[in-house]
């Protein structure tokens, strides 16, 4: 069990913050997470003590910054078990997925090729592929689901039916229902069929030990801000030979060896060839501090904590027939539900009036209504600083209900 009381002291946002005049109960961690003081200090350190560009100077400040960037790259590589040169900095998960789409798929896909997705995917793992299909004549197809879950059998069936699948791109843990997919087994099936696996790790990497080499995915993407790190920084982890083979997406300074008036450009090797322009250096320093913070607590402990809170919430909510839970067996820190006959946004507004932050809607997975048969859900999501008391307040407010208009008239 985590020492949540001690952990909470590390987070300025948890220091007696209120919302709507009530103690803040923050349960929207699948959207973004709070930052510990060490991350904020690391980011400030860039501006207060280290301000210089990287790769662009002959003086000490610049050299020191190069070392900081390398240190973060190494920290990420160790954290995710990849090689250092397999870590590409991006602005976040969305840019990382776009980089695979425009750098890899646009180069290697042709008319008639298929991209296998699920209808539960976040917009960032759907819309780049739609665009690639427009540009190449490839086609998106969807894996069949079993009770909202992506299964190995479903992926195998897709490959049996269609020999032209070249890319499979799936969330390692879904952002609405929170189910983990059998990524390693799916990677094996992809490779047996000469396809690659892109794993969207936005909801998995922050919450569970993720081993890139062991999973054998070809690409893995995630954002720092969902794991106690800064916004505006994330990464693409890619097998080095694929990174070398694929095209750059952004071009500009810092990504080329040389270029000539003829138009010839010699790009640097991966990962530098993808990192045109000045990097988010303050973000990179914060990213390293976030990884250090999480490693110090332990990813296995964080995952166990999420599971305990999930089970605790389910045990409290069970037996209340008006509370419809869509993913009782997910156990990954994401609980999606509705109150019978109450619109999701109205419920979220009522919870806001009690100081409870949750997300309502489709959570950017706009095809999810086809899975659960509801236009929207309310999503509660936990993290390492979420306390049992947070879950108590949340559950009590769901169970005791209250009229949704209380949010406007009882404050």
């Amino acid at each position: 069990m985590l020492d949540v009381k001690k952990i909470r002291k590390d987070f300025p946002m948890l220091d007696n913050k209120t919302m709507q005049g009530k103690p803040l109960v923050y349960l929207d961690n699948a959207s973004t997470t709070f930052k510990p003081r060490s991350v904020i200090e690391a980011m400030n350190k860039y501006y207060l003590e280290m301000n210089a560009n990287s790769h662009r100077g002959d003086y000490d400040l610049c050299y020191n910054m190069d070392m900081e960037v390398l240190a973060t790259r190494k920290a990420i590589a160790k954290f995710i078990n990849s090689d250092v040169n397999e870590v590409v900095f991006t602005s976040g998960d969305t840019e990382a997925l776009n980089l695979v789409a425009y750098g890899y798929a646009l180069k290697f896909l042709h008319k008639g090729d298929k991209i296998l997705l699920s209808i539960e995917e976040h917009a960032s793992n759907v819309l780049p592929w739609f665009r690639i299909c427009e540009l190449t004549g490839a086609e998106v197809i969807y894996v069949s689901l079993e009770k909202g879950r992506i299964t190995l059998e479903g992926v195998k069936r897709a490959f049996n039916k269609d020999k032209n699948i070249k890319i499979v791109s799936l969330a390692h843990v879904g952002n609405v229902l929170g189910y983990e997919i059998p990524a390693k087994e799916i990677a094996d099936v992809c490779h047996q069929n000469n396809a690659i696996l892109v794993l969207d790790g936005a909801q998995s990497v922050p919450h569970m030990k993720t081993n890139f080499k062991e999973l054998d995915a070809d690409f893995l993407t995630f954002s720092a801000h969902k794991m106690c790190g800064p916004t505006g920084i994330g990464c693409l982890i890619g097998k080095y030979d694929l990174l070398q083979k694929m095209d750059t997406f952004h071009t500009g300074g810092g990504m080329n060896v040389t270029f000539k008036s003829s138009g010839e450009v010699i790009p640097l090797d991966a990962p530098s060839k993808f990192e045109a322009g000045t990097l988010n250096l303050s973000g990179i320093m914060g990213f390293k501090a976030a990884i250090e913070y999480l490693e110090n607590i332990g990813l296995d402990n964080i995952h166990k904590h999420d599971q305990e809170l999930f089970d605790y919430a389910i045990s409290k909510l069970e037996g209340h027939d008006n509370i419809l839970i869509y993913n009782k067996d997910a156990r990954n820190g994401i609980l999606s539900f509705n109150i019978k006959d109450v619109f999701a946004q109205d419920e979220a507004t009522l919870l806001n009036s009690k100081g409870i932050a949750v997300r309502s809607g489709q959570h950017c997975a706009k095809m999810i209504d086809e899975v659960i048969g509801e236009p929207a859900t309310v999503r509660m999501s936990t993290y390492l600083y979420t306390s049992k008391e947070d879950i108590d307040v949340f559950c009590e407010n769901l169970i005791n209900g209250g009229d949704i208009l209380d949010a406007y008239f009882f404050n």
């Binding site: 489709q362 009229d403 208009l405 008239f409």
Partner: protein, 144 residues
């Protein structure tokens, strides 16, 4: 409409309009001007239809998906806008927007729409309470 409505009365007016929105229908004729509105922070996805004859709004209705606040506020907007000249309708919408943002407003013209006076307490829902009203404003101003 007296401003002395009790909270209970205001709540029941909102609930009446959201559970039985009398103006939620798709027009059967094609002489309506319409506009589609959707929200990026709520599921609201609405078509608003106004029938305008000789500078007068003679009918107003809507269809689509909406949360309680957008459903009831749009339904009330449709009730109130019917029979108004373009100018009077625009003045009413302007006053409603002032109320939404806690600015001084002319309560005389807002009638039943006064029930949304507390929306700013839930700032994330202001967009819901104004979506139908903004749609009507856009139609009246010829913005599509």
């Amino acid at each position: 409409m007296p401003i002395s409505l009790t909270n209970e009365m205001m709540r029941s007016i909102i609930m009446d309009h959201s559970s039985n929105p009398s103006n939620k229908r798709t027009p059967s004729s094609n002489d309506y001007e319409s506009i589609h509105m959707h929200s990026d922070n709520c599921i609201d996805d609405l078509n608003i239809y106004l029938k305008i004859e000789n500078n007068l709004v003679v009918d107003a209705c809507f269809d689509g998906i909406a949360c309680t606040i957008s459903l009831s506020s749009t339904d009330i907007m449709c009730d109130l806008i019917k029979g108004k000249s373009k100018e009077k309708a625009l003045y009413m919408i302007e006053q409603y927007n002032h109320m939404m943002h806690e600015e001084p407003f002319d309560d005389e013209v807002l009638d039943e729409a006064i029930v949304f006076i507390n929306t700013s307490k839930q700032a994330a829902r202001i967009r819901c309470a104004t979506i139908g009203w903004n749609a009507a404003e856009n139609i009246l101003k010829g913005k599509k």
